[in-house]
Symmetry: C2
Subunit: 465 residues, 2 copies
């Protein structure tokens, strides 16, 4: 029996690299790229097989946390009390330091597995095996990181050089680290691949909390001091002081601040399939392609189109004779660029922010587990949304940040209002329902409503949709 293991999922990302699908209010970890679940929820479900839910924590910012309540039902239902809130984003060293002092209060000798919320992992057995070996080594007092066996000369990832060299026949065993390497040129990446003693830096860490804090004290004394003061303020529940102290912290990654300097670092090679889903181009690696090498989703006609990523929705997207392109279409914005320019989408987001445009912050249309919400109009104190509730689903408007009155367009709904439940039917006229606690669609097909929010009710928080 060793120390208890806690999971800390880092979910503070801003989500600029998947614009226009991701927005400030819908960062990458909350996208459903490959299925029904968000990347964050997939991360939680993966870990749940190893760590019970009550010992899973999410470190994130308040605005990200609000978005999770809407887009990640798994978090809303099971992890609402397990959020560690950073007052603002300060990169991974402060986020993990803050997480460590939170967990220390529960279990001072705990082992912490820290991992990103927005990566794709396939091959759970290999993943668990690597974490298990890492846990054993952490128990011995090491800072353990998981390195991924590279399968191609990738220039978009950082690398870890292993001391001595890796012997795959010896299986999953820990290695000493010689050094961390920043994203290399293609030439260097090819050399790394052929030398065989380099691993991809996955950003997954395992350590005992007292060991991690000790190393923070040695290599990042300013951060350690701030964390000590935050720990005291935490005990007193002094939120303004925590916020002030945290804002003053310098943003530094835990790789740069601790892992590259500490002499207690070991790496465990992971033999699972891993992708950091760093840009639209990454979908080529993780999604299925058609016969022409295209990744296609949504309402698309792709003629003579090759090796492209065509990501559409309800609207029609028609491409003719294009190659190696990324086309992403949403209700309110469309992106078109060559695949090798996909990382520059953040420049568009910067430009939108500079212009004060909402296109970087919110979506017009939001898919939800219960259906969808589409912004039809927002101007001069009037906001109009079309709400579609799937057959058999129900919606609690307040939980979704919906503040308006509802109008039934057509169909039958069951509504709850101040404890009373009743059925309402409309045959195509507009039936006003007022504001409601819950709306249920008992029918076998979708039901459509309008949400109308007028005058002073059109508040800033309505932007969350």
């Amino acid at each position: 029996m060793g120390s208890e293991v806690y999971g800390v999922i880092m979910a503070g990302g801003a989500g600029t690299r998947f614009w226009p699908l991701s927005r400030e209010r819908l960062p990458k970890q909350l996208l459903r790229l490959s299925g029904e679940r968000t990347l964050l929820e997939e991360t939680i479900l993966r870990l749940r097989n190893l760590i019970p839910m009550e010992r899973l924590f999410i470190v994130t910012t308040p605005s990200c946390a609000r978005a999770m309540m809407i887009h990640a039902p798994l978090v809303r239902e099971h992890l609402r009390g397990n959020l560690i809130l950073e007052p603002c984003g300060r990169n991974t060293a402060p986020a993990l330091g803050l997480s460590a002092i939170h967990l220390k209060q529960k279990d001072p000798g705990a082992i912490m597995i820290a991992l990103p919320s927005d990566h794709m992992i396939r091959g759970s057995d290999h993943f668990f095996r690597a974490l298990e070996v890492g846990r054993e080594k952490a128990e011995e007092g090491y800072l353990v990181t998981i390195g991924i066996r590279p399968t191609r000369p990738e220039t978009g990832y950082g690398y870890i050089k292993v001391k001595g060299g890796i012997s795959p026949e010896r299986g999953v065993i820990p290695y000493r680290v010689e050094r961390f390497v920043e994203k290399p040129s293609l030439r260097r990446a090819k050399r790394f691949l052929s030398q065989g003693n380099y691993l991809w830096n996955s950003g997954i860490f395992i350590w005992k909390i007292p060991v991690f804090l000790k190393e923070l004290e040695r290599y990042m004394p300013d951060l350690y001091r701030a964390l000590t003061r935050i720990e005291e303020a935490l005990k007193e529940g002094d939120l303004p002081t925590i916020e002030r102290l945290y804002r003053e912290i310098e943003p530094i990654s835990v790789d740069y601040g601790v892992m590259e300097r500490s002499r207690k670092v070991m790496v465990v090679p992971g033999f699972f399939q891993w992708n950091d889903v760093g840009s639209w181009k990454a979908l080529e690696e993780i999604m299925e392609k058609d016969g022409m090498g295209n990744v296609v989703r949504g309402n698309v006609i792709a003629m003579d189109t090759k090796n492209s990523i065509i990501f559409g929705g309800e609207r029609l997207l028609a491409t003719i004779g294009i190659e190696d392109m990324v086309v992403v279409d949403t209700e309110d914005a469309t992106l078109i660029c060559p695949k090798d320019r996909a990382q520059d989408v953040r420049k568009v987001v910067e430009e939108l922010n500079r212009m004060g445009s909402e296109h970087s912050i919110i979506h017009w249309k939001m898919e939800r587990p219960w259906g969808s919400s589409t912004l039809l109009m927002k101007e001069e104190g009037l906001l109009l949304r079309r709400i579609t509730i799937k057959a058999g689903s129900s919606l609690k408007p307040k939980e979704e940040g919906m503040e308006g009155d509802f109008i039934l367009l057509r169909g039958r709904v069951r509504i709850s209002k101040g404890g009373n439940v009743c059925e309402k039917v409309s045959d195509g006229g507009l039936l006003s329902l007022g504001d409601i606690d819950e709306i249920e669609n008992p029918m076998g097909r979708p039901v459509h409503l309008l949400e109308v929010l007028s005058n002073s009710k059109v508040l800033e928080e309505a932007k969350i949709h």
Copy 2:
């Protein structure tokens, strides 16, 4: 004093080449590509300086005529009685033959100027000069066509070879035609340009009606016979017979059927700027470019984008690092292709028709002189449109094919209903107005309404929007 001159504008085009901006219900001649007016209205206004409105006719199909009533106010207000209806499209020889027998009933010796409705012409003085010289020659019994002095080795146009050669210093004089040439290869087009005795075939014709009918009788005897029988049926008002006869006619162009064979043909060189606006690529010639060689319209962010045509609307269109591309974005569909594939857009339209998709027929959003109409929903017997009326504008719903009830979202309107006029105000609630004869926006800013059409009212004709 010679014969009276009548104008016949050919406006039966199907509008596949400007998809997704053009649709079956909004063909190219009804697009506002370069300004406030549709191409058809620009053609009318250009001719009006030469021919009084009462002698201007439009030959078109019933479905095109319906679309004109909505999109071309100039036609609705002034030329409603001057439409010559082809029961179906049968190319230019039958359309002009039908026009000739219509005009013959008004004025048997009339001169007819026939011209396409969807071309761009700049330099009216030169245009009028060419028509005037053509008219003089038509008076003498010739079939006159206007040829355009080529300015580049265009491979997208047909050419006319002039007998002997053209002397620009002799000005606008008629020439004998040696032969008509189909769209040439680039090599041949370059030779035509350097030889100097080739003109672009503009599709503009001038002739006396009896001369034209005589040549039809000689070179297209089947068509002539059908027209003679249609003429008799016209006198008796026997529409079913006209329809049956017209449907049986073989579709042939007047160039191929008459002009290339007749020995009475002359060509007048036009020195005006002309473009047949044959595909999205043509916009490069007729619209202004930015410093990077792009034609840009609408809500667009174009980063490192060169020599492209980026045609957007209200939605945001972001391009990064693209070159020589066409991107056209509408409310419900987006097209992306290299410029040199722009003509293949018709293949997309064919595919949509094959699939039974409405994306080739109607638009979700329609711009109108008085504002705009956007389809929000159409399913299960319910149609919902958002109607925006510009400041100071008014709308007669019935004229626009709007059959629904209206709801005022916000603002003040003046409505007429069965002869009564009253003002209605809404501060953001939904104020039901019912069905209305006319709605006026007396305010200084746009006013928004919803149109709701339910159950049996959702008729096929509602598709026209």
